[in-house]
Amino acid sequence: MGANPKISIRELTKVFYKKQNSVTALENISLDIEEGEFVCLVGPSGCGKTTLLRILAGLENQSSGDFKIERSTIERPNQSMVFQERGILPWLTVEENVAFGLKMRHLPKSYVKERTTYFLNKVGLAKFANMYPKELSGGMKQRVSIARAFANDPEILLMDEPFGALDEQNRYILQEELLSIWSETKKTVLFITHSIDEALYLSDRVLLMSAQPGKIMEEIKVDLPRPRKLEDIRSNPEMASKFIDIWGHLQVEVQGSRL
C-alpha cells in the first residue's frame, strides 16, 4: 500500500504569467496520499490551495512536475470536485443536480435513479428532490454538492472549502454527515479549509502550506480515533496544543503576507 499511493504528486510547480508579470502559485509540491486517507490542506489566503486542487481536477495545467491518481479496476471517474455554495446548478432540481455526474456518464436510467435516491436519503434531502436550489438554505445546497460528488463514485474526492460559507452549527452538522458517508465509502479525500478546528476534526493528516509561493511546510498527523466528537477535540489538551501550533504557524504566514 505504502509503495503505491492513491495520489502521488511530484515536484509540481504552477506559475501564472501575465504581461511580464509572473506569480509562482505552487512551488515544487511533492505529496503522497494513501487510498482511503482524509487529508486537509490548510494555508493562508492566496497560497495556492485552490490552484493545486484545480490542477488535480484537470481544470488547470501545471507548469512542470507530475501527478498521478491510481486507478482501481472498476469503471469510474478519476475525481469529482465539491465546489463552494455556488457550485450547484441553479436550473436543475436537487435530484437532477445529484444525478448530474451520472447522467454525463450515460449510465442506465434505473441505476442513476437508484444511486441518486440513495444519496438523497443519505444527506436527508429526499423530501426536497424536486425543489430548485434557490429554495434551499446554504447548508442544504452543500448537501446537494456532496451527494453529487459521492454519487458519481470517483477515485478521489476534491473539496475546496465546501463549508466556508456556513455558520458554525450548520458546519458541524455537515462535517458529521460528511464523515459518516466517508466512513461508509472509504474514499480518498483532499479537503481545503481555513478552519483549524475543521481540519483537526475531519482529517487523518493536516498539510500546512506557506504563503506565496505555496509550498508544503509541515505535516501534522491527527491520530484521534474515529468516530470523533467535537467535544473530544475541544477537551483534549493534545489537540489544543496542535491547534495552537497550527494557529501560530498560520499567524506568521498571514501576517507576513499582509501589506
Binding site: L89, W91, R105
Partner: protein, 268 residues
Amino acid sequence: MKDIKKSIETEKQEWRKQQTQQRLKTSLTIVSPICLLLIWQCLSQSGLIDARFFPPPTAIITTFIEMLKSGELYYHITISLSRIIGGFLLGVIPGIILGLCMGLYAPIRHFISPIIMALMPIPTLALLPIILIIFGIGEGSKVVTIAGSVFFPVVINTVAGVISIDSIYLDVAKNYGASRKEFFLKIALPGSLPVMLEGIQMGQAIALLTIVAAEMMGARSGIGYLIWTSYSAFLLKEMFVGLILISFFGYIFSLFLRWMQRKLIPWR
C-alpha cells in the same frame, strides 16, 4: 401568553391596514387609464383639444363596436397576429441559435458582432425597399420585416447571456465530464436563458412597433394597414381603434411572455 396574543392582534391589525393600503395602491392601476380617458373625453367634448384630431373616447368605442360587429376587425386582427407571431418566431429562433454560437465560440463572435452592430442602427423604414427586393410583396416581406427588427435584441441578449454564465458552472460541467452537446443543452442554454428572455421581451415590443411599417408594403389587411390607411383617409376614429388594438396586444403579449418566463425559468 396573554401578551403574545395581544402582540399577534397588534400585528394582525397592522397587516390588515397595510393590505388595505396595498389594495388601494393597486387599484390605482385601474383608475389611471380611466382618469386619462375621462380627461380626454372632457377635453375633447369641451373643445379644449381638437375633436377632429382627437375624437372623444366614446366615439372611438362606438366605432370599435361597429367594426367588431361587421367582422372587419376580426379579419385585421387575425392577419396581423399571424404576421406578428410568424415574424417574431422567425426572428427569435435564428437569433437564439446565432447568439448561442457567438457566445460559445469567440472567433464567430468576433467575426459576426461588427456586422450586427453595423446593421442594428439602420431604421426598418429604410430597410423596406431592400426587403421588398429580396422577399417580394407577399406575406414573406411582412414577416421578414418584423423578424428583422426582433432579431437584433435577441442575438445581443443571447450573447450577453452566454457570456454572463458564471465560470464555476463551466468548471462543474468540465469536472463531471460533460460532452460538447451536453454542455450546450445543460449549461449554455439554461444559463443564458434569463438574459435571453429579456431580449425576447424586447423583441416582442419591437415586433409590435414594426407592424405598421411592415404592413405598408403591399398589404390589404392587418392592424398596421388599418392604422395607416385610416389615417391616409383621415378616418381618425378608425385609426385610434387600430392604436388601441396595438396597445391591447402589447399588454397581452407581455402577460404571455411573463407567464412563459415563469414556466421556462422556474429556478429564478
